[in-house]
């Protein structure tokens, strides 16, 4: 089997938002993300997950202010150079944590919103007409195509904003808490779409606190703490132990319950020691 292509490569990346910042938002991060892989950025608030996505997208420090050191390569281009940005137009699907902030603001309907990027990339109208309904349908919002984006509910808006990236079939997905406003069914449906995107060959990078759902989606976890990659490994291996707690990130609900119960006992009985059960089924198996 051929080695999968590296879709995203960060080398010695350090980001400071302000000259007065005592600690950098990202501190000397080097990592590679491959095409077809779902990578989960996990960490407490301030660990650097959102900053890493912004840097990979070429949005920080350009739009946030600050200084960047090191190099970023996405799909063989540098998103921090004008030429790289031109080469990457339409090939990176960045989804912010605040969906309302991502709307173009110029579209009168959901259809136009999703057509906005393709139209700006100069796609022929026939291609746009075929791609927009497909993207909306994949996220379960096809029926909203005529609606004014300003009138959507929070969860509907979040799906539309993601559809506006999905339509581009990007080579790299960078998603910041993309399911925060979604109901449970919507969350599972979105993660299935992202899984399909990885199968298509996209590199999917997703920052999320939703350990219980991400566990079934991600191939790899980058556990971040204080702007560095504290642990790089398989999500199950990391979450079943204490590493994610030592770095203030937490774990799944059943692992959290085991930790909580263990704190009440000294010595800690074997049933409450790592590896922690990560889902209901294994918890029942362990504690029945």
């Amino acid at each position: 089997m051929a080695t999968p292509a590296v879709a995203l490569h960060l080398e010695g990346v350090t980001l400071r938002y302000g000259p007065d910042d005592t600690a950098p938002a990202l501190a000397d991060i080097s990592t590679r993300v491959c095409a077809g892989e779902v990578t989960w950025l996990f960490g407490a608030l301030g660990a650097g997950c959102s900053s890493l996505l912004l840097v990979a997208a070429g949005l920080a420090p350009r739009h946030t202010g600050g200084d960047l050191a090191g190099s970023v390569t996405a799909l063989d281009a540098d998103p921090h150079s004008p030429a790289g940005r031109a080469a990457l137009a339409g090939r990176i699907g960045y989804v912010t944590a605040a969906p309302a902030a991502q709307l173009s603001g110029v579209a009168a309907t959901v259809w136009e919103e999703v057509a906005f990027a393709p139209a700006n990339l100069g796609w022929p109208i026939e291609r746009i007409r075929a791609a927009v309904p497909r993207a909306l349908a994949r996220l379960g919002v096809g029926a909203l195509h005529h609606r004014d984006p300003a009138t959507l509910s929070g969860g509907e808006l979040q799906r539309v904003v993601i559809a506006a990236m999905l339509v581009l079939e990007p080579g790299v997905w960078l998603l910041d808490e993309p399911a925060s406003a979604l109901d449970h069914a919507g969350r599972l449906a979105l993660y299935e779409v992202l899984r399909e995107e990885a199968r298509r060959g996209a590199a999917v990078v997703i920052a999320s606190e939703d350990a219980d759902t991400l566990l079934g989606l991600a191939d790899r976890m980058l556990l971040l703490d204080a702007g560095t990659v504290a642990v790089d490994g398989h999500p199950r291996d990391i979450l079943a132990g204490n590493a994610a707690w030592q770095h203030r990130a937490g774990s799944t609900a059943t692992a959290a319950l085991a930790r909580l119960a263990a704190r009440l006992l000294e010595p800690v009985p074997s049933g409450l020691r790592p590896p922690y059960p990560l889902d209901i089924e294994s918890a029942i198996e362990r504690w029945r």
Binding site: A44, G154, G155, E156, H184, D212, L260, A262
Partner: protein
């Protein structure tokens, strides 16, 4: 007396083919905690906004703390009701976190000493003291949500209306919100929260109202409603395990279930 009473409330948006919410009747008593559950687009936010007089119903009656809101504006309810938006950016506009928190009490004409005191209490309670002089927009998005909640609570509302108060928060942030909601309820504040968070529902609320296509289809103990359809959050893991394993916890909340689990595991060594 209920802090919120809605009777046969129907809301229609201009040009929309169907009503956003239809014939909603519900009451929320002091100290009660209600989770508004339902699929995206079911009408949860519309119901919440109508309770705050941000939307005028086409028909029906809304009373907040005994006031008929038909001719009132949100600011007329500012002394009794607080509303934290789903999108915190919609409500933050001051230059510092401290000023944002002080805004409500100042508008209500509180004495300077009381304003200073509630502001420092809120900064402390929500672990915002180190960010007090930052611009709210210089904070990470999840912390902006915490600032919005702190600012909403600062006016000491009797009715607290929250739209997705834990969305996008990390573990520590979710715990802050859970504790704040529980603490507010303990002082008699009535809380109604739109949420997809089963943990918040079990830890800090107790009744669940399920909305489907703009109508209330269930109103019951949250433990009965959670997990009953695909559109509502699943029952949180501690409550599920308490049931399935027969742990006999004193409550379905995580601390109580952890205690019961510890007892079981200790006896097994």
């Amino acid at each position: 007396m209920p802090v919120l009473r809605m009777e046969n409330v129907t809301v229609r948006y201009p040009g929309a083919p169907a009503a956003a919410i239809s014939e909603i009747s519900l009451t929320v008593e002091p100290g009660e905690g209600v989770a508004l559950l339902g699929a995206n687009g079911a009408g949860k936010t519309t119901l919440l906004r109508t309770a705050m007089a941000l939307i005028r119903p086409a028909s029906g009656r809304v009373e907040v703390a005994g006031r008929d809101t038909a001719r009132l504006h949100p600011e007329d309810l500012a002394d009794v009701a607080g509303y934290a938006f789903q999108n915190p950016e919609a409500q933050l506009f001051e230059r510092t976190v401290r000023a944002e928190i002080a805004f409500g009490p100042r508008q209500l004409g509180w004495a300077a000493g009381d304003i200073a005191q509630v502001t420092s209490e809120m900064l402390e309670q929500f672990e915002l003291t180190p960010s007090a002089d930052n611009h709210p927009y210089d904070l990470p998005a999840p912390r902006r949500r915490i600032v919005a909640l702190a600012a909403t609570l600062a006016s000491r509302p009797r009715l607290l209306l929250l739209d997705e108060p834990t969305a996008g928060l990390d573990r520590a942030g979710r715990l802050l919100v859970e504790r704040a909601v529980s603490a507010a309820r303990a002082t008699g504040v009535a809380v109604m929260a739109v949420t997809h968070d089963g943990d918040l529902t079990v830890e800090s609320l107790d009744r669940a109202v399920l909305l489907e296509n703009g109508r209330i289809t269930r109103s019951a103990d949250a433990l009965e409603v959670l997990g009953s359809t695909d559109d509502v959050p699943r029952l949180p893991a501690p409550a599920q395990l308490d049931r399935v394993l027969g742990l006999g916890a004193a409550s379905p909340r995580r601390d109580a279930v952890a205690a019961a689990l510890a007892t079981r595991c200790r006896s097994r060594g």
